[in-house]
């Protein structure tokens, strides 16, 4: 059984947001537009946030890409009254869109605030609709959505591997964000395979997880900026 995980190397990440756009194009996430974006209706399954601190000239600025952490103990799934979100056997916290009734308790209980809601019927100009990915489900208004590690890609890769009667190679399947990251700051793979890149990196001395103290056991690991880690 696979256990999918992601590693984000903050030392390499430049805050370029290619991952953000890649995710939106892959997963048919429309832009919200100016007014809606200011009301917080823009959906960023992958969200690059920044922190600026200090005073001139001792300024610091850091970028942090935040997808869903795919918690192993997800606080979001428990609270859903209709089990529209659940952790699948491969550890992905998935959303059963047609079942979601939109109470948004999962949203308010996600400590990482990475769940997004369809405040309106998602819409694209007619022309853009030609460019929609047919592999992802069309989320209607009134339901919740989130990063699912590009589950459609994983499923496809699994089908292929099954047909070819072999095991999945490390790095054979990557989500859209990982595939595009220009500085190669994102890694994706099977945490159950001790030899996979993500497994090894997740044990790096630079590795940490967000809000570790909450016991949510995220499967997204970060690598700290700055110091060299020989253990890699």
């Amino acid at each position: 059984m696979y256990r999918w995980g992601m590693v984000i190397d903050l030392d390499k990440c430049t805050g370029c947001q290619a991952c953000v756009v890649a995710c939106r194009q892959e997963n048919n996430i429309p832009s919200a537009g100016e007014e809606e974006a200011h009301l917080g209706r823009a959906k960023f399954w992958m969200n690059v946030v920044s922190e600026v601190k200090g005073n001139y000239p001792n300024v610091e600025m850091h970028f942090l890409p935040i997808p869903c952490m795919q918690c192993d103990r997800p606080p979001c799934t428990m609270v859903c009254p209709v089990a529209a979100t659940y952790k699948n056997p491969e550890g992905i916290v998935a959303q059963v869109y047609p079942r979601c009734i939109g109470v948004r308790m999962c949203i308010s209980n996600c400590p990482y605030t990475v769940r997004y809601f369809n405040w309106y019927e998602p819409s694209w100009p007619e022309e853009y609709q030609k460019g929609l990915n047919p592999d992802v489900y069309h989320r209607r208004k009134g339901i919740t959505e989130k990063c699912n590690f590009c589950i459609q890609r994983i499923r496809r890769a699994k089908e292929k591997v099954k047909k070819e009667k072999r095991k999945m190679r490390d790095g054979e399947v990557v989500p859209a964000c990982v595939e595009t990251c220009p500085s190669e700051a994102l890694y994706f793979g099977d945490l159950n395979d001790p030899k996979s890149r993500v497994s090894r990196l997740s044990k790096s001395r630079r590795a940490f997880r967000l809000l570790e103290e909450m016991g949510t056991e995220p499967k997204v690991y970060y690598l700290k900026e700055g110091e060299w880690d020989v253990g890699e």
């Binding site: 190397d9 030392d11 390499k12 430049t14 805050g15 370029c16 947001q17 290619a18 756009v21 890649a22 939106r24 194009q25 892959e26 832009s31 919200a32 100016e34 974006a37 200011h38 823009a42 946030v49 920044s50 600026v52 200090g54 005073n55 001139y56 000239p57 300024v59 610091e60 600025m61 089990a83 529209a84 699948n88 491969e90 998935a94 059963v96 047609p98 079942r99 100009p125 007619e126 853009y128 460019g131 929609l132 990915n133 047919p134 592999d135 992802v136 489900y137 699912n148 589950i151 459609q152 499923r155 595939e179 595009t180 990251c181 220009p182 500085s183 190669e184 700051a185 060299w228 890699e232």
Partner: protein, 794 residues
């Protein structure tokens, strides 16, 4: 586009939530109607949201492109794309694209258009061009090009030459001329230099916006990651010299907030220390450079060498007072730079596009030469070109010869811009006055001067004087909106085009665009085809200069040369196979890079790297003879503030600022964001929505101000403020950003369109409306960073 070329995959498309659902949940799923079979295939292309020319793998579903990825083995981007590349489909599918040829109906700029057929459109333009030519005034045709790629520049140039007009402005590296001019005077090179990221240890960037803009953007993003974590046990150092705390500065190990316009002095100050401490690369200097030591010319006159100059004029103390940086800091970076090779010094527009840009670039080039960082592993590489076959000679008739003998309208190549190839920003006055002659017809290809050049209003007034303006743009940008005839090009997904990236990775390479759709989305045509079509219709020598059916034919003609060399990434038994493989792989490349080929590559009078620029000296001497003006007089016209040998050596020229210190206390720094696709990104909602990640800004413009400065003038975060220069004023939102030099303000470039479709129009501000034109006359370009401004609450 034939099916057999594609890797065709019949798929049962899965439009479900796509999960292994436990049975108990399944009953909540819709029972039917969600599974739609589709046909999928992948093709290649080349991105053109910026000049990096990344290879694209295009996923199409039922004939429509739905996702872009990078080509895995494409050397430039190795399967990766930046955010602009990722949002490329919003260029293709922009709802506000021009869908057929348009003819102006109402007054200029009134947006009153009439759709016409291609046949009529071509007839309209050819008739006009014929008449002009028959009147013996072919030089009154002007072509203003911009983001031209590959052989499109040559095709355009060919057309203009065969037609008989010298007024071709088509420089694809517009906006970065300072860097190129520096390289020209020190190395005789007309290209940008590539960075050998694979081995560099110490990167000193003089305002190269490595992680937000720069050329080639994607390669530098990758290079940064590689510098940090690419080689076990090594974490390279990055030092960013820039008045603005950019993303690059934030990711750098050290940020050096320099006084704007003084980078050249800093480079020379570092050179001073390196020379004094004898930390330079003796061998390289002895063998491959000229003018380091004092030298004697043939007449026996002694000339000052770089060493003497630098030791005399640029001690850390002297430089400290110019740059506002402490002496110890200058010494420290000089010492680091020369102690941890391979080191490299990079530059960007912030250094180059100043009134002293050329000399500043020469200073940084010299710094690289000092430590032998040129054409050396971990250093700067001299870009090699693909061995294209040259096209057959251009046929010129008498009319063409006569037209070509006229002077250029923009004055490039004559005083006060002797070394310029073209100066679009000088056009407004010339066109306005109609001197030395008026312009009859203007062709606009891939450029939008009413947005991208300083003082666009002046340009607009000048355009009023031109009776006929033709635009090839697929988008209704500001300038196109001001034209009389639109012959819409397709987007970069819909046309044949080669793309050579300068700089790339040093070794020869190029990418090939081919239509990713069976047909263009709308009734548009590749401008290359249209030009050939026009040439054919015009007949005579012009027709003969274009012996191809279409642009694809012309391309094949050039690419045959590459096939013939039998080198590089594609080996094929015949040209057809070569061509098909080329389309499949998206490009051709010929690694590895041949290091240390200095002698062949420095294209200077001495054949060496010239600290003392003989190119410059000879150029000015010839100019003096030709114009019978004394050198001193010429220097005065070029506004060069020094005399004697120093003129030919990298030295610090005091930058000129426009706007008195008292009234306009701030330097206006405008910059490109990673989400800025030059002047073209504002029509893409994906980019608008993530515009300025550092300040969480989107869909708008803002001005960054130092918080303490802001407090002094009573400005709070989010206030609306006026920014005013001598050229105009703009109102926008103030953002307090501690990474702002107290004497600077920053405005990102890319917003403030008055046209360009629903997403771009009337959104934010365009800093060009504030910029006043001054020039680096020696380099022959407008200095983008010379304008000073004041700010006050709205």
């Amino acid at each position: 586009m034939k099916i057999n070329r594609r890797q065709l995959l019949k798929l049962i498309g899965a439009a479900t939530c796509g999960m292994a659902l436990p049975d108990k949940i399944l009953h909540a799923l819709p029972k039917k109607g969600e599974w739609i079979p589709y046909e999928e295939y992948w093709s290649t292309g080349i991105c053109l949201q910026c000049p990096s020319g990344c290879g694209l793998r295009i996923r199409s579903v039922n004939h429509w492109p739905v996702k872009l990825e990078g080509i895995k083995d494409f050397p430039m981007n190795k399967g990766r794309l930046c955010p602009k590349g990722q949002s490329g489909l919003q260029v293709l599918y922009d709802p506000d694209r021009i869908r057929c040829p348009l003819k102006r109906k109402g007054k200029r700029g009134e947006a009153n258009w009439e759709g016409i057929s291609w046949k009529d459109a071509i007839r309209l333009i050819t008739e006009r061009l014929q008449t002009l030519r028959q009147a013996g005034k072919p030089h009154q045709l002007m072509l203003l090009g911009g983001r031209t790629r590959g052989h499109m520049s040559e095709l355009m140039a060919r057309f203009m030459e065969a037609y008989g007009s010298p007024n071709h402005l088509g420089n694809p590296s517009r906006g970065s001329e300072g860097i190129l001019k520096g390289h020209l005077f020190t190395m005789g090179i007309k290209d940008f230099l590539a960075i050998h990221w694979e081995e560099v240890n110490y990167v000193l960037s003089f305002g190269a916006s490595l992680l937000e803009a720069s050329r080639p953007a994607i390669r530098n993003l990758w290079g940064y990651g590689f510098l940090r974590r690419g080689r076990p046990g090594i974490r390279g150092k990055l030092v960013q010299i820039e008045p603005r705390f950019s993303v690059t500065a934030s990711k750098a190990d050290q940020w050096i907030p320099i006084q704007p316009g003084t980078d050249g002095a800093l480079a020379l100050g570092m050179a001073h220390w390196i020379i004094k401490e004898k930390k330079y690369d003796r061998t390289f200097i002895d063998r491959y450079t000229f003018g380091f030591e004092d030298w004697k010319d043939r007449e026996g006159n002694t000339h000052m060498g770089f060493k003497t100059l630098v030791l005399k004029d640029y001690s850390p103390r002297q430089v400290s007072s110019i740059t506002g940086l402490p002496e110890e800091m200058i010494i420290k970076i000089a010492s680091e730079f020369s102690s941890y090779p391979p080191s490299i010094a990079l530059t960007g527009r912030g250094l180059g596009m100043q009134t002293n840009g050329t000399y500043a670039q020469m200073a940084v080039d010299s710094l690289n030469a000092l430590i032998g960082a040129i054409d050396h592993p971990g250093g700067l590489l001299l870009q090699r070109k693909p061995p294209f076959q040259t096209w057959p000679a251009i046929q010129k008739d008498g009319i063409a010869e006569k037209g070509l003998s006229e002077v250029r309208l923009d004055g490039a190549g004559t005083l006060p811009f002797p070394f310029a190839e073209e100066i679009p920003s000088a056009l407004p006055e010339k066109i306005q006055k109609g001197e030395p002659y008026p312009i009859d017809t203007l062709l606009l290809y891939y450029t939008n001067p009413l947005f991208s050049l300083p003082e666009p209003e002046k340009f607009r007034n000048a355009l009023e004087k031109i009776p006929f303006i033709v635009s090839f743009s697929p988008f209704m940008d500001e300038t196109t909106a001001f034209s009389d005839l639109v012959l819409p090009d397709g987007t970069y997904f819909e046309r044949w085009q080669d793309d050579q990236v300068e700089p790339g990775l040093g070794f020869p390479m190029f990418g090939l665009r081919h239509p990713a759709l069976d047909q263009p989305l709308y009734d548009t045509r590749n401008t290359g085809d249209v030009i050939i079509n026009i040439a054919k219709t015009m007949g005579g020598n012009i027709d003969k200069s274009f012996p191809w059916k279409d642009f694809q034919g012309a391309l094949k003609d050039a690419i045959k040369g590459i096939y013939a060399t039998k080198r590089g990434s594609i080996q094929a038994k015949d040209f057809d196979e070569f061509w098909n493989t080329l389309i499949e792989r998206g490009g051709w490349w010929d690694p590895p890079y041949p290091f240390g080929d200095w002698r062949k590559k420095f294209n200077t009078p001495s054949g060496k790297f010239e600290f003392y620029s003989l190119t410059l000296e000879q150029g000015l001497r010839e100019l003096s003879e030709k114009s019978s003006k004394a050198l001193d007089q010429i220097l005065k016209e070029l506004k060069i503030g020094t005399k004697g040998d120093r003129v030919f050596l990298p030295h610090f020229e005091k930058p000129r600022w426009i706007g008195e210190e008292v009234e306009f206390p701030f330097h206006l720094i405008h910059y490109k964001l990673m989400t800025t696709a030059e002047g073209r990104g504002a029509n893409q909602p994906f980019l608008q929505e993530i515009l300025g990640p550092h300040l969480k800004e989107k869909w708008n413009s803002w001005v960054e101000i130092n918080p303490e400065t802001a407090e002094k003038i009573g400005i709070h975060d989010g206030d609306l403020i006026w920014v005013e220069s001598k050229a105009g004023k703009l109102k926008t939102k103030a953002r307090l950003f501690p990474g702002t030099h107290p004497q600077c303000i920053h405005i990102p470039y890319g917003q403030g369109h008055q046209a360009y479709g629903r997403w771009a129009k009337s959104r934010g501000v365009n800093p060009n409306e504030l910029l006043v034109r001054d020039y680096d006359h020696l380099g022959g370009f407008v200095s983008y960073f010379s304008t000073k401004v004041k700010v006050y609450k709205a």
